[in-house]
Every structure is written in C-alpha cells, then in structure tokens.
Amino acid sequence: MKRLIVVLGMLCCITFNSVSQSLNRRWYMPDFLTAQYAGSIGFISGGAGYEIFRKKAGVELLVGVVPGFIDSAPLETINLKFTGSIINVKINEAVTLTPLTAGLFFCYTPGIEYSSDLPSWYPEGYYWWSEAVRVNIFIGGHVSAMTDRFGRSRKVQAYYEIGTNEIKLVSYIQNSDALTVWNILHAGIGVRYFFSDIHR
C-alpha cells in the first residue's frame, strides 16, 4: 500500500512537471490534481482527475491515508469519485462560484482484515455488505479562481462536500425517530489545481 502511495505521488510529480513544462499535453495526462481533508476517505488524500462532459463534471482517482498518529488503526483507501456541477454562477472574469454539486464515490479499503467478498468460512449471504468497499453519495460546492501565482495563468478551486455512505443511510432510513440526518452525514474539503489555463 505504501508503495502504491509512492507510485501515485511520483505519477503526480511527473504529470505536474511534464504538463506544466511542455505545451504538448498527452491525451492521458490528467486535467487537475486534488488534495483533500477528511470526507470519509482518509485524514488527507491526494490524486488526479479529468474534466468530462464539457467541463461540467469531473472524475478523479484519490488515494487517502489515516496515519498512525491520527488513529491507532492506520488506514489507506483508493477512491474513484465522480462530481457534477449543477449550478454555476460567474462572479467576474476570474472567479466562478458553483454553489451546488452532486456526486458519488467508491471507497476501497485494502487489507486482509477488510474482506471485499465474504470469506469462504461464511455461509452464502451471511453478511450482505462488503467490509472493504463503501459507496458514498454527496452534495457540495466549489469556488474556482484564476491565479498567476504559479508563473502562468492557472485555475485553482476550493471545494467542500457533505454526504453519507450506504451503511449509514440504511441505518437512518429504518430509524427516523432515533437518528437524525446529521447523525449520518460526513464532510470533506479540498483544493484542485487545473493545468488548463482557459477559464470557462
């Protein structure tokens, strides 16, 4: 797992260098890099992604970590996240506000103690959920701004998201008296750095 984080980190560096230094962007080079705090995928997480659907949405791969100094049970996650923009408000030439986004992500937590399939010594259907995979839905928002801080004109974005996963959602649906929606929600915040210099 640590190797995976190192590889991803190197990939990000290579991407960052090659994309920022050459104008010949390769097709597979990501459109943006992401760093996130919390959000049920790690204390911190980082990764890269692509803008899709005429930049109305994004898909990204994030690796998250909960280090040992944060929790006595350290964790790593690999996440595939889809975020769509629903409302966009152009504040001025440099700043766009997106007050409503919605999306979903799959969080995979590797480790022999977290089975993704039911191990062989359980009868079929003994547990219906996977320990290793969580499915999350969320809404959120972001603000994007153009900046010259990085030596050239670049888009940067700050975002938040608030959502839940399938096992908390099913707990809430069956217990609307004892639980409130605030019981099951979790939040994350993050930043994205875009390689494109064209602000939409």
Partner: protein
Amino acid sequence: MSQNKVAIVGIVVLLGACSLFEYHPYETNVAYRNLNAKAIERIAKSVNDKDTITVISIGDSQRFYDELEDFVQSANQQRADFVFLNGDITDFGIKDEYEWIHDIMKKLTIPYVAVIGNHDLSGNGEEIFEKMYGPLNNYFVVNRHKFILLNTNGREYHFNKKIPDISWLQEQLTSNDTFDHATVVSHIPPFDSDFDLSLEHDYVAALQSSEKVKLSLHAHKHTFKDTIPYSDGIRYLVSTSMDERMYLIIKIYGDQYEYKKVYF
C-alpha cells in the same frame, strides 16, 4: 510567515473540532471510553448486599435504534439492577453505530454492561469495543455472584479453536472465596453453528465441572429460546433481537433464579 502558521494551526484545530469531518468509517477514536468498568463500579454500589440481583438481558440492537429507545423507556419502569447488552450492539462495527447505541443506552437509569457480538467485530469493531467497553473477556462479582462475559464469536476468527478462550473460562470458574455462584454471558450459544463447535464440549464441561453455574445467557439467534440442552440442569436463555420488542428480566438469589419475558 508565522502569522500563516498560526492561521494553519487554527484551521486544523477548528476542522478537528468539527465532528462532521470523518476520516474513515472505520476510525477508532470513539467518544466514550471504559464504559463496562464504569458500569461495574455503579453496579457494585447499587447492588451492594441485596439478597436478590435483578438483571435485564437483551441483545442484537443492531440497526434497531427506534426499538432500542422504546426498550430504554420500558426498562426504566422496572426495578432492575442492571442490563446486559449481549452482543451485536452494532450491525457494521463502525464507530458511529457504537456511539448512536450508547447515546440511547445512556438514558437508562440503571447501568448496562456490553458483551461483544459477531457483527461488532466487523471492520475495526474489535478495537472500538475494547476502547469503549473494555476487554472482550471480562468478569465482575457482586454479592458473591460472579458474572463472566465471554467472546464466543468463533466464526469471526475462522474457527481457530481459540474463541471462546476455554482456559480463561476455566480459570474464572475455579473455586475461590470471592464467589459462590456464577452466570456466563456470551453472544453466541454453544449449540449454534457460529460457535466454534470443536469447543462446544469444552465450554459445556467447564460450566458443569465448576458446579457454580445454573444459567448461560445468550442472544444472536434473534428469537427467544429457553433450553437445557445438555441434561445437566444448566439453563441456556437466548434473548430476542430488539425488533421483537421483548426482553428478559431475571431475578437471581443464591443458587436459585426465575425469569419472565417482558414485551414493550
């Protein structure tokens, strides 16, 4: 620069303080600690030297929060000394569930003692249980009656012939001058297929040979069961899950006991 640092530290502290920021569903830094030890301390004071100990036995509160709230209301009407929450406290073994359950159970006017169930071991549930309630195998003595809490969730350990810990159980049941009688409390009964059946005989023999045990309390099966399966006079009482809206209220005096079912 130092101003920036102050701002960053400030932001991190603020973010940490906001409970909405979850790092992972399996995080283990649960808000409540050592609850069983605290409950046992209260029990020791309240039971003191009463002739009769009155115990409520429930289990399988997993994902039945609404029903558990109704249970607490009903149990608060009883004149019981304490409650056993006998395993499958949670459904997925996540920190949030453990906290939701205690937020309801802390409204009890009497203490409750929790026992580990198979669902509670999912994810990092074992570590959370240890932080929140204490050791998975535990015991306490009130009024010369010993209550032994035992982890019997053998399937969760791939039937490794170590769960339940028979030698620890034998040790606890060995005569000494601190107790006259004992009751064993565990989630999975020894006649269930989720119990490590290679240890069934050893469990039963440990209870029999001690000559201290009349009752073995369980849950897990989600339906009520009252049985003396080994023709040895030792009764196995299985509580329902909370959605069945029933609990057992057991009066223990000397080597005698009686119980009744209460529906709520």
